[in-house]
């Protein structure tokens, strides 16, 4: 087994210094390049190129900028960075001037590209005042620092894991090394730090698993280090399947080398020579970027054989998932790597005894690994400065739903949720008007639905969610405004857990089918008195499933019965004030003179408009309630609640 301990006992005394000098050489080259990145010789425009920026058209912006620069002959460089965090203003670009001033602008449209080039040539704040988001570095006086932007008001003064996001080019190994990557590795190998010390410092730092279960990472690594045999594996769970969570994506697209280094250190600290990153298929850009970063690291002796010239070896591979949520469960993930169906199995044996290819393995979340180098680079005490007693440090959270500003933040544990909602700009309706909070969704489909009044008592810590029979989960939090019925979300999550059940336990695949049927029936306006007791029965039954997928799948429905009982009871009685449950409203034409009605009649995908101009009627029996006609003629067509259903028969 190759480990840090064996390196200490078995090699010549000068190996440590050769590792250090090899690393110092990498740093020297990296610093030289990075110096000109921070203070370029000519102004440089960096286009954000993460998944969200690309979805918002940043590739087109880049194309236009490149063409304009080439045509005008302007001396402007074009580069790449990751987005900074506020996704609602994507696509963003930042301009860096030779004096080191860097300013972030967005949202950039194709029409504003020429202004952008002018701004780069003439200096900050001359042509694009309306697009300025904030200043990332340097001093120019008038423009406020990005750190003072309201969206980041809950973040600590300095970011930790995302410290280089929006500043470095994520594809550049030199940028990563110049900002501290692989320093901890060089120190561990160069000083031949005993492997146990690495794990002890993680325990001292209080680092817990970021996948949701919050198990102490150092302790988990101790299990693997103490496992039998010489061949161990470290596995990274990057199958971030919770809808509404994209924390791992940000880390992998923005800081790929922090994940690589974290896994490398895990390998050194647990006697493993092989690592797998199981990455979901929905993140093609993250797959690309991780594979490129791994190749770069191999080319520079940071991965593969003879790391930094020592006799240590660590190989890392990306495994591309194929769209199975249940592979996010660790035993499902392990069997998926082994050429088979990704079905979870009963634990024990735990992966630390029987994992990939039946050998001892350790599975951690992306962010867990990525946090490790930072703790070793600083100290455990430094890491514990932020966070709470039970959960130390920071983690990345993603916020979406009916909020003004969608995006991600790196927040210390213990941040109050109400403050976060404020920094996201509060609840906004689709029309951009202010609205009221209705529900909070945390932890994905196996997570929770929390009522609006819980927000004042919630802080980002597991213990704070527990009294609501809720979990904080893996970093995705969705704020839902009034205007959506809770059963709409229940339908979504019930469908999801039913579809994604692996099918091994009858409790899980049968129970979830039953649950989805009941929810759909209530939505269609045929709720029954005995639905609640039946849902409770399904819930009890699902607790006997083998894995957490089955056990946690009725959780959102249970939360609805606990926290949204009135809305549920109303829906059973056929009454829905939000008019979003398809079986509880019909469409009514309130203004026959509206000229838009003719277009509304042609948009109907089912052709259910009857009559002619001035005398339209809608045949509700064929209507699929897609709402397209209301999109076209909102003033002429309205939803009207149906009278309460006579089919509801109370239980005697």
């Amino acid at each position: 087994m190759v480990s840090v301990d064996s390196a200490a006992s078995g090699t010549q005394t000068n190996e440590g210094s050769s590792v250090t000098s090899r690393y110092n050489e990498l740093v020297r080259v990296a610093d030289e390049e990075f110096k000109y990145w921070l203070n370029p010789l000519q102004p440089r425009i960096d286009v954000a190129n993460d998944t969200s920026s690309l979805a918002n058209g940043s590739d087109r912006i880049e194309q236009i900028l490149k063409q304009a620069v080439a045509e005008s002959g302007a001396t402007i460089g074009i580069g790449h960075v990751h987005g900074y965090g506020i996704q609602s203003v994507h696509p963003t670009v930042s301009i860096t001037w030779p004096n080191g001033t860097r300013i972030l602008y967005g949202p950039v449209t194709p029409e504003r590209c020429s202004d952008l080039i002018q701004e780069a040539q003439d200096g900050p704040n001359s042509h694009l005042q309306d697009l300025v988001i904030g200043q990332i570095s340097g001093e120019s006086g008038e423009i406020a620092s990005i750190r003072d932007h309201p969206f980041f008001s809950c973040e600590p003064d300095e970011r930790r894991l995302l410290a280089n996001l929006g500043i470095t080019d994520p594809d550049s190994l030199n940028h990563a090394i110049a900002t501290g990557s692989y320093k901890a590795t060089a120190r561990i190998i160069g000083r031949r730090m005993p492997e146990g010390r690495v794990r002890d410092s993680l325990i001292a730092a209080g680092l817990t698993g970021r996948g949701g279960a919050s198990f102490p990472t150092g302790v988990k690594w101790n299990f693997l280090a103490g496992a039998q045999g010489n061949d161990h594996y470290v596995v990274c769970n990057a199958d971030e399947g919770d809808p509404g969570a994209w924390v791992n994506r940000v880390v992998m697209e923005g800081e790929p080398h922090s994940l690589i280094e974290g896994m490398l250190i895990a390998g050194l600290a647990t006697g493993s020579r092989t690592g797998f990153i199981y990455l979901r298929d929905e993140y093609p850009l993250a797959i690309d970027r991780m594979e490129r970063a791994i190749q770069n690291a191999i080319n520079n002796q940071l991965l593969g054989k003879n790391i930094l010239g020592s006799d240590l070896e660590f190989n890392l591979r990306v495994i591309r998932g194929a769209g199975a949520y249940v592979c996010g469960e660790e035993t499902g993930l392990l069997s998926s790597i082994q050429d088979s169906r990704g079905m979870p199995r009963v634990k024990p044996p735990f992966p630390a005894q029987v994992g990939v290819f039946n050998l001892p393995s350790n599975v951690n979340n992306v962010e867990t690994y990525a946090t490790v180098p930072m703790i070793l680079r600083h100290t455990s005490d430094w890491y514990k400065e932020l966070g709470t007693e039970s959960m130390s440090g920071t983690r990345v959270f993603s916020f979406s739903g009916d909020i003004a500003q969608v995006g991600f933040m790196e927040l210390p544990f213990g941040t109050p949720l109400a403050k976060i909602l404020d920094s996201c700009g509060g609840i906004h309706t689709p029309n951009g008007e202010h609205g009221k909070l209705y529900a909070i969704q945390s932890g994905g489909p196996l997570g929770s639905l929390l009522p609006s009044h819980s927000i004042d008592q919630l802080i980002l810590e597991n213990a704070s969610f527990a009294p609501w029979d809720a979990i904080m989960g893996a970093g995705g939090i969705v704020f839902i405004g009034e205007g959506t019925h809770i059963l709409v979300l229940n339908e979504l999550f019930s469908e999801f857990v039913e579809e994604e059940s692996c099918g091994r336990c009858t409790t899980c695949h049968g129970g979830n089918q039953r649950q989805t049927e009941i929810v759909r029936r209530i939505i269609s306006g045929r709720g029954r008195r005995d639905d609640a007791p039946n849902l409770k029965l399904v819930d009890d039954l699902l607790q006997h499933s083998n894995c957490v997928h089955g056990q946690f799948s009725p959780k959102t429905m249970r939360n609805t019965l606990q926290h949204f009982r009135t809305d549920y009871e109303d829906a059973i009685a056929g009454y829905d004030p939000t008019l979003t449950l398809s079986g509880m409203y019909e469409l009514e034409i309130v203004d026959q003179t509206d000229p838009l009605l003719n277009e509304a009649a042609t948009i109907c995908p089912k052709g259910q408009f009857e009559g002619e101009a001035g005398a339209w009627s809608i045949n509700m029996s064929g209507c699929v309630r897609c709402g397209a006609c209301i999109d076209i003629a909102p003033n002429a067509i309205q939803k009207k609640a149906l009278a309460r259903s006579p089919r509801v028969i109370p239980i005697a």
Partner: protein, 172 residues
């Protein structure tokens, strides 16, 4: 082992570097589907041969995963986002509107002429665009179309059904 034909040779060359019991099967299936568009019976047999497995085992494995197809894909695939941020903004209505426009009964089906299909997509965290879909044409591109309404999605689906390119529909 299947008889060697031009297409089996092609599949064989796609997967020649993959080894059994090495965690390569997912990657092999992906590579073949990416090149050929879908996993035919023939492809499954060739892959099984390479991995020293039964064809049924390979099919059993592949069919577990959402992303693998066993029939040729439609010319254009509409991947409808099923996430919560989209759902609070009438994405269910958008799905039903697209299905109704294309005369499909449920997601996963394709139109009879093979022009369009609708599949369920998973949230990838671009929720500022909610509600959204991705329009995919095999091997050419995957285009996110965001901030949709039911009416816009019907226009889009009608355009795709009549054979227009997505670029034309969005700009026209």
């Amino acid at each position: 082992m299947p008889l060697e034909t031009e297409s089996t040779l092609r599949i064989r060359s796609i997967i020649k570097d993959f080894k059994p019991n090495n965690g390569d099967l997912l990657a092999a299936l992906y590579a073949v589907q990416h090149e050929m568009g879908y996993l035919s019976k023939e492809a499954l047999a060739v892959i099984a041969d390479q991995f020293k497995m039964f064809t049924a085992e390979v099919y059993g494995m592949a069919s577990f995963y959402e992303e693998y197809r066993f029939d040729p894909p439609a010319k254009t695939t509409i991947r409808w986002c099923s996430g919560p941020a989209c759902r609070t903004r009438n994405s269910a209505g958008i799905r039903d509107a697209i299905l109704a426009t294309l005369d499909l009964n449920e997601t996963g089906e394709q139109t009879e002429d093979g022009q369009c299909s609708v599949v369920v997509g998973q949230c990838n965290g671009t929720c500022e665009l909610a509600p959204m879909i991705w329009v995919e044409e095999h091997k050419t591109y995957e285009l996110p179309v965001g901030k949709l309404t039911a009416a816009k999605s019907i226009k889009l689906a009608r355009g795709l059904r009549s054979g227009s390119g997505i670029g034309e529909i969005l700009n026209g």
